[in-house]
């Protein structure tokens, strides 16, 4: 038994080949439409046979996703897609497994499975649609809602401190974490491809607008007027710069990131992004200020961190192979006989 790898194909497919015959039923204007489109666009470019692709989801608006993909798919139960996908990928390393989840599904009811999947590093691509609200249950606050957020279940404002999803996942031992947004198709497609290329669990947080229950939650990051000032698009090997004309930069003062004018410093003084530096990634995940706060840091997008670490399924296959080498392939008669037997004539 060798570790099966995901096969490749040269068959030319289009996004249409990845569109199922089911009517898409998200609310008009939902950010999910754009994400679905980008995923369907990227799929043919991955060179993976369609039948080897599986989309697994839990419960929530985003979790209807598999029904719209013309691939194998499972719409499971709330919070458990991570566990279902784990069992699938561990037994079928030849499949490209994609997991679609939301902030409630992944971080609240399914929080436990999420952190354990990340530490095991099973080669699954997780797409977390974060809209900071419960949409399917019609508008309660979620574990990523901000303090004070007024929702149906928090009419006087939410008092729960929110999760910082990327700090959480990095802390759980993730080997690939990235952030993108529904309103930037080009960036999102790029990140989806990188997530696919990474061998191990890839965690992609996608800011997604719920125009019905939490409209405009991310508009300072996604809308033209403020996007350049409020976001920081990271690329390995390039300095962290942002602003209308890339006039701002970030540099490290000890462990503290500070904003500087690019014109005032030498390029060498700026923070050069390297997605393989864990310590720096830890700091980057903490660029999580309320954009209304004076002097806040911009919100980073792109790949924060990636590392190569053996996957759970490859370690398991190796262990099975080692055992077979040492003990020989299992023989049922020997097993049934056990250590000691006796015969009655």
């Amino acid at each position: 038994m060798t570790t099966a790898t995901i096969p490749t194909t040269t068959e030319k497919l289009t996004s249409k080949d990845f569109t199922s015959d089911q009517e898409v039923r998200w609310c008009p204007g939902c950010g999910d439409y754009s994400i679905l489109k980008q995923v369907q666009t990227v799929m043919p470019e991955l060179g993976i046979p369609r039948e080897n692709i599986v989309f697994v989801s839990g419960i929530g608006c985003s979790s209807r996703f598999p029904y719209y993909m013309e691939t194998f798919g499972m719409h499971s139960i709330h919070g458990r897609a991570t566990a279902v996908a784990s069992g699938l990928k561990v037994t079928r390393p030849d499949l490209s497994v994609w997991l679609v989840t939301g902030d409630g599904d992944a971080l609240s009811i399914g929080g436990n499975h999420m952190i354990h999947l990340l530490r095991r590093n099973i080669n699954i691509n997780i797409l977390l649609f974060n809209n900071e609200i419960y949409g399917l249950t019609k508008g309660q606050y979620s574990p990523t809602s901000h303090i004070g957020q007024v929702t149906k279940s928090s009419p006087y404002g939410a008092i729960d401190h929110p999760f910082n999803p990327l700090a959480l996942t990095l802390g759980a031992g993730a080997t690939f974490i990235a952030r993108s947004m529904d309103r930037d198709p080009v960036h999102l497609r790029g990140i989806l491809k990188k997530a696919n290329e990474h061998i191990g669990t890839s965690f992609v947080e996608i800011y997604q607008n719920c125009n019905v229950f939490n409209d405009g939650a991310f508009e300072v990051f996604t809308e033209k007027a403020s996007k350049k000032e409020e976001t920081l698009f990271m690329e390995t090997g390039k300095p962290l710069i942002f602003g209308q004309n890339n006039e701002h930069g970030v540099k490290l003062d000890g462990f503290k990131p500070v904003i500087v004018n690019v014109a005032d410093v030498s390029v060498n003084d700026l923070w050069i992004h390297d997605e393989r530096e864990e310590m720096k990634a830890t700091i980057l995940t903490r660029f999580f200020d309320d954009p209304k706060k004076a002097g806040h840091l911009p919100r980073p997008f792109g790949v924060f961190y990636t590392e190569d670490r053996p996957t759970y399924e490859s370690a398991l296959t190796a262990q099975i192979n080692d055992t077979i080498k040492a003990k020989g392939e299992g023989d049922l008669d020997t097993l049934l006989r056990g250590r000691e037997s006796w015969t009655i004539n």
Partner: protein, 632 residues
């Protein structure tokens, strides 16, 4: 001229016995379970029929010397057929005062007590809560029993004092070998199997082979040379059916059944589980056999355990999860998902006392209703129950077979009693086990009109004669499809909120499970006549006790029969007519009357419930008494 030792040996007499029950009891750190297991294996190898019942505290190391810390191992072996670990013991071996206090009531009148006197020091007596100044070995309260006092601790220490290089703690740990040696002598058994075990067990610490061997032999020789022991006992081999046997425990048998089924089905076995007493030994056993390609997955919780097994099933593997009642409760929603998606899934429940955490290490049969009805919505499962340690093998194999062939989850119920109990097993040859035919669908299975003519389509919920659906696994070109927990449209599997479709699908899933009755054996009478006055109807681990009691009552001339149900849902097709051939149906269960309620519900008969909810199996005596009572 004979030496004094030969003289003594010559004077010892042999007495033949048909059946002996020994209860070993001591602190949970005393190695009681090992002594019991080794003695059991020796007798099994000798050819006795055997049944065992380990009984240990939930705490790993409860405070030494206390009543809470008493660990027991009961073994019944004989030259006759044995079906239970015995109601009461003939011999009670106690390592300390607490063990005596906790176990004395299960010793027969006139029984033999072997007591380790150094476990009866004032401190031990106080911990065992004897009144100040009272020592049961000295105060005459054990009159009527034959008491042998041996200072096992002292003798063990003396045996190893010069050359062992071990500390006192380690030396004391080998006193269970002294007990084993002595008991082997008492019952005329060879030390060979135990010596082999020590060699195997301590391969990496040869000094322990040497010391344990020394103590084992010292125990044996103590019986041989001490004048106090004048009688040795002999229990001849039992008249067992011809063939090759091994000793097997229930959880081990379950694991072997699962492995056999995966081999016979040609599928990878995936076992997703979370540690829980008394089910963990299934995981331990499976994890050892990675050379069978088995994938064991110790999940982060019970829900992840079952969901990972569902993921494995979706991928075309044999997905299995195992737990005990509390864990099964957590798995409920996910089991429903597998029912809804119609995927194979085997769920094993090694039942223990409940509710909540209940009695983790004690036995009960109180999860039958949970298995039958314990999920949201109309959610039928195939439910099977194993009746003895070796039957766990048969039913685990059967659970896999039915699940794979009917594309629906199966729950297998065992319990703490048979999971940890052992018996001789006439094990099968691999070639004697039936093949489990599994065929993945690789082609589209229907022609559908799409407005421009007929096109081939794959319908994931098209039914066959068993009402089960095709299984097309990821990687199969052209058969891409979606499954999920939301109600699905008949045949296409697309999401459907249509009210008529929902009712149709609920009834379809029920009919599919009911249809399994066509593929399982009819109910047989285990013992007694096919019709008559009393039928004792049991299920699960009560098998041995009921069998013993019914044999006993038939011998007394009572018109009584025994039937034991292993297919709990659906029930065998002939069960209703079988029940109606008896005037009275007695239903002993280790719960508050769960199966009797189901039988009353299904067949409208006035079944007489007989419940025991004490964390312990029925004794045959209790059952005989009840049978005699309703016979009046």
């Amino acid at each position: 001229m004979t030496t004094p030792i030969e003289e003594i040996t010559k004077q010892k007499t042999n007495k033949e016995l048909k059946e002996v029950v020994i209860l070993f009891a001591g602190d949970s750190g005393d190695g009681i379970q090992l002594t019991g297991t080794q003695f059991t294996n020796t007798n099994a190898l000798f050819g006795n029929d055997i049944s065992t019942f380990p009984n240990y505290p939930a705490e790993i190391r409860a405070p030494a010397g206390t009543l809470a810390g008493v660990s027991g191992f009961q073994v019944n072996f004989g030259s006759v057929n044995i079906y239970t670990a015995g109601d009461q013991s003939d011999v009670l071996v106690v390592m300390n005062a607490a063990a005596l206090k906790a176990s004395l009531r299960s010793l027969k009148k006139n029984g033999i007590i072997i007591a380790n006197t150094s476990g009866f020091e004032p401190k031990n007596l106080e911990l065992a809560k004897y009144p100040k100044g009272v020592n049961p070995l000295k105060d005459g309260s054990l009159e009527g029993y034959t008491v042998h006092e041996i200072d096992i601790t002292k003798l063990t220490r003396a045996c190893l004092e010069n050359n062992s290089g071990l500390g006192v703690k380690e030396i004391d740990r080998s006193k269970n070998m002294f007990v084993l040696g002595f008991i082997l002598w008492m019952y005329n058994r060879s030390m060979e199997p135990s010596l082999n075990y020590l060699k195997e067990q301590f391969k990496k610490r040869p000094e322990l082979i040497e010391t344990n061997t020394k103590v084992l032999k010292a125990g044996y020789n103590y019986g041989e040379t001490t004048e106090t022991f004048t009688t040795r006992y002999e229990v001849k081999a039992a008249p067992m059916p011809k063939g090759t046997y091994r000793s097997i425990m229930g959880n081990q048998a379950t694991a072997l059944g699962l492995i056999s089924a995966s081999k016979k089905a040609g599928l990878t076995l995936f076992y997703g589980t979370y540690p829980i007493t008394p089910a963990s030994d299934i995981l331990h056993e499976l994890a050892k056999h990675k050379n069978f390609g088995i994938k064991t997955f110790q999940a982060e919780d019970e829900i992840a355990a079952v969901c990972s097994a569902i993921g494995a099933s979706f991928g075309g593997n044999l997905g299995i999860t195992g737990s005990s009642g509390p864990g099964i409760a957590l798995k409920g929603e996910a089991i429903g998902l597998a029912v809804m998606m119609e995927l194979p899934l085997v769920v094993i429940n090694v039942q223990r006392g409940g509710p909540s955490t209940g009695l983790p290490t004690k036995t009960e049969q109180a999860d039958l209703m949970q298995a039958m009805y314990g999920r949201n919505g109309e959610c039928p499962l195939i439910v099977l129950a194993a009746s003895s340690p070796s039957d766990c093998f048969t039913m685990a194999f059967e659970a896999c077979k039915l699940s794979l062939q009917h594309m629906t989850p199966v729950m297998l119920l065992t319990d703490g009693y048979i999971a940890n109990g052992a018996e001789p097993w006439l094990y099968p040859k691999a070639s004697d086990l039936p093949e489990i035919k599994v065929s993945f669908t690789t082609k589209k299975n229907s022609l559908k009109e799409n407005g421009e003519g007929k096109v081939e389509k794959y319908l994931p919920y098209l039914r066959d004669e068993k009402l089960s659906r095709p299984w097309a696994i990821p990687g199969t070109k052209g058969l891409e499809h979606r499954v999920g927990g939301i109600e699905k449209e008949h045949e296409t599997g697309n999401i459907s909120y249509d009210p008529d479709n929902h009712e149709f699908m609920v009834k379809m899933r029920q009919a599919k499970v009911d249809k399994v009755a066509d593929y399982i054996p009819e109910q047989k009478i285990d013992n007694g006549k096919e019709k008559g006055k009393i039928l004792v109807l049991g299920w699960g681990s009560t098998y041995g006790s009921i069998k013993t009691a019914v044999i006993d009552c038939i011998a007394k001339g009572i018109d009584v029969s025994h039937a034991h149900v292993k297919y709990m849902n659906p029930l065998p097709k002939n069960l209703g007519s079988l029940l109606k051939k008896f005037d009275k149906v007695l239903m002993p269960e280790m719960n508050n009357g769960q199966f009797s309620r189901i039988i009353r519900d299904k067949f409208l008969i006035d079944a007489i419930g007989f419940d025991k909810i004490k964390g312990a199996p029925f004794t045959a005596g209790e059952l005989s008494k009840k049978i005699e009572e309703i016979n009046k």
